[in-house]
């Protein structure tokens, strides 16, 4: 069942279209950085991390992750999640699959698995494309990163990362960003089971990131209580993996929050889908 769903989705122009656009973004980012002056300092993320991109190609995946994690990647993930059930319903093929002696739960979880894999692929493709493009443009050299939150005038907190640790930390950062998209995926996937209009579910996933940013205590300190439960606000904590010492205090809470969103909305999707009447 998973293979059938995989076959349907990977042959879909929209699927590889999204992955190609993600990869092209990484290339365009590299070209833009290359076109900028050689000593240009970039302030990456909310921390911020300070780096000179042209000194090492490893800067590009960090900048790419930082610039896409709050909208572009949620959009890609929402697309994959939203299309999985609602797309099939819109084509009319869902009712024929469900009129067969196949359990609805199997159909649902096959779709969830494939949409999840494609969502992970969107993040991985971004990082790999940015790493390759960055390395080809600037070389895979040691990267100096300055912790903008801890630095003071005349006393910059600089950490130099050799290639080995960089690869490990970048892999962890990628995993963290993947985990950070899980809540958006779950909400868009649940919405996908309730409609035959994929765009409604896409809007739900992207809308969640917007709501999350609105209720962000970084901008409105008075909403600290709500901020803790917003799914997208702490997605930039992976940047602390590239500071010394690394402050990883908020990461467990964020991962637990993602797990909670996933459990709640995937259970809702299961209950809804296995009981709904297929009337359209």
């Amino acid at each position: 069942m998973i293979l059938l769903e995989w076959y349907k989705q990977v042959r879909r122009p929209r699927t590889y279209g999204v992955l190609v656009v993600v990869a092209l973004f990484a290339v365009a980012l590299t070209v833009s950085l290359a076109a900028t002056g050689p000593a240009q300092v970039e302030y990456v993320g909310d921390l911020p991390l300070l780096m000179v991109p042209r000194t090492s190609g490893w800067s590009v995946p960090l900048i790419a992750l930082s610039s896409t994690m709050k909208f572009f990647l949620p959009l890609a993930v929402s697309l994959f999640a939203a299309e999985s059930v609602a797309g099939d319903a819109a084509w009319g093929s869902l009712r024929y699959a469900l009129a067969r002696p196949v359990s609805r739960a199997r159909v649902l979880w096959s779709k969830a698995t494939v949409a999840g894999l494609l969502s992970v692929a969107s993040v991985v493709v971004l990082v790999v494309a940015a790493t390759v493009a960055g390395g080809l443009a600037f070389g895979w050299r040691t990267l100096d990163l300055t912790d903008g939150s801890a630095s003071t005038p005349g006393h910059p907190h600089v950490a130099a990362f050799a290639v080995g640790p960089l690869v490990g930390h970048l892999a962890l950062a990628t995993l963290y960003v993947v985990a950070g998209q899980a809540s958006i995926f779950a909400v868009a996937f649940f919405l996908s089971t309730t409609t035959r209009r994929p765009l409604v579910a896409v809007a739900g996933g992207v809308g969640l990131t917007i709501v999350s940013r609105v209720f962000n205590a970084d901008y409105l300190p008075g909403i600290q209580v709500v901020d803790r439960y917003m799914p997208n606000n702490d997605i930039d904590l992976w940047q602390h993996l590239f500071t010394r010492p690394a402050d990883l205090a908020g990461i467990p809470h964020f991962l637990i929050l993602q797990a909670a969103y996933v459990v709640v909305f995937m259970v809702l999707a299961h209950v809804w889908f296995t009981r709904k009447d297929i009337l359209d």
């Binding site: 069942m1 059938l4 076959y7 349907k8 042959r11 879909r12 122009p13 084509w91 009319g92 093929s93 869902l94 009712r95 024929y96 699959a97 469900l98 009129a99 067969r100 002696p101 196949v102 359990s103 609805r104 296995t274 009981r275 009447d277 297929i278 009337l279 359209d280």
Partner: protein, 323 residues
């Protein structure tokens, strides 16, 4: 036949292909789409569900396929209760609410997906037979999105017939087809019936129903109005349909005749006349003798019986959903 067939249903003591027991479906907003429907479809028959839009035909078919859960009552196929994903659905082929395929895959790939989904025992043989039936030619390897309306319906029929199902459920299978394509579908249904497949279908084309079905059930507002063989629905007494210039006056004239025939309007200028022992000549003489102008006269058909059964369509409650 499906991948895991239940007990075969061909013997006299076997349960009917379809049994609906007190079947009721209430939709949202308090709309009752199907209302305590009891019906049996004998194995091997070709049975039509008839009724105006919103009478509950499509919802009933969807409950047959486990797509919609009954609010009350149950559906039994070959004696086994239908639930979503029930094993007995492996014995059923369906075309409901038009074709539904993955648009970026070819007709061949779409049928392959259907074969693999239920692991049909026939495998490639089933696929080849279905492709031959769809008659897509070179287009079989072209994207489904490029297909014409007729090609899509042929592919949908081919999918419904994959694996030679014991029960074929067809919801308006000839909608939008040209006459030649519709004849092709009629032939396919006839071939299935000849092979012992039970067919349940809906259609608004009553001459088509009269030609291919041996039984029919008429629904109105989700309730069963009448059911039986086509001959039973046509009635044992001859039915005469007259077209006149003044139906009210003609109805009054005919109803006052000896034998008190039943007179029912079946169109804006047509009346169905049943009983009273009146022949065509007698009816014409009485009408013209009282100044009613007769524009035409013919023997009654299923359409007349159906319209007479439904009576005044304006009496139907408004339907809030596609039923």
């Amino acid at each position: 036949m499906g991948p895991d067939p239940g007990p075969a249903g061909t013997g006299a003591a076997d349960p009917p292909a379809v049994r609906l027991e007190g079947l009721t479906k209430q939709l949202r907003h308090g709309v009752t789409a199907v209302d305590h429907l009891d019906l049996e479809v004998p194995t091997g028959s070709v049975t039509a569900l008839l009724g105006p839009n919103g009478s509950g035909k499509t919802v009933t078919l969807r409950m047959l396929l486990g797509l919609v859960r009954p609010t009350h009552g149950r559906v039994l196929l070959f004696g086994q209760e239908v639930r979503p994903g029930a094993r007995v659905l492996g014995r059923v082929g369906a075309l409901v609410d038009g074709p539904g395929f993955v648009p970026h895959l070819s007709g061949r790939r779409n049928l392959e997906l259907a074969v693999r989904l239920v692991r049909l025992s026939g495998g490639d043989a089933d696929l080849d037979a279905a492709l031959a039936m769809a008659d897509l030619g070179d287009a079989a390897d072209r994207g489904y999105a490029t297909y014409s309306h007729g090609m899509r319906y042929r592919l949908a029929m081919a999918q419904a017939l994959l694996g030679s199902p014991d029960l074929l459920v067809l919801d308006e299978p000839t909608t939008g087809m040209d006459p030649a394509q519709a004849v092709g579908v009629h032939r396919a249904i006839g071939a299935c019936a000849a092979a012992g497949t039970t067919v349940v279908l809906t259609s608004h084309a009553l001459p088509e129903i009269e030609g291919i079905c041996d039984r029919a059930a008429v629904l109105r507002s989700g309730r069963l109005l009448a059911e039986g063989t086509i001959a039973e629905l046509l009635g044992t007494e001859p039915r005469l349909v007259v077209e006149v210039d003044d139906t009210d006056r003609a109805a009054a004239v005919l109803a006052g005749l000896p034998g008190a025939p039943s007179v029912t309007p079946v169109g804006p200028r047509t009346l169905a006349v049943v009983g009273g022992g009146l022949g065509t000549v007698a009816v014409l003489e009485h009408l013209e003798g009282t100044g009613v102008r007769v524009l035409g006269v013919r023997a009654g058909n299923l359409e007349d019986s159906y319209l007479a059964l439904l009576g005044d369509p304006a009496a139907d409650p408004p339907d809030a959903a596609d039923r």
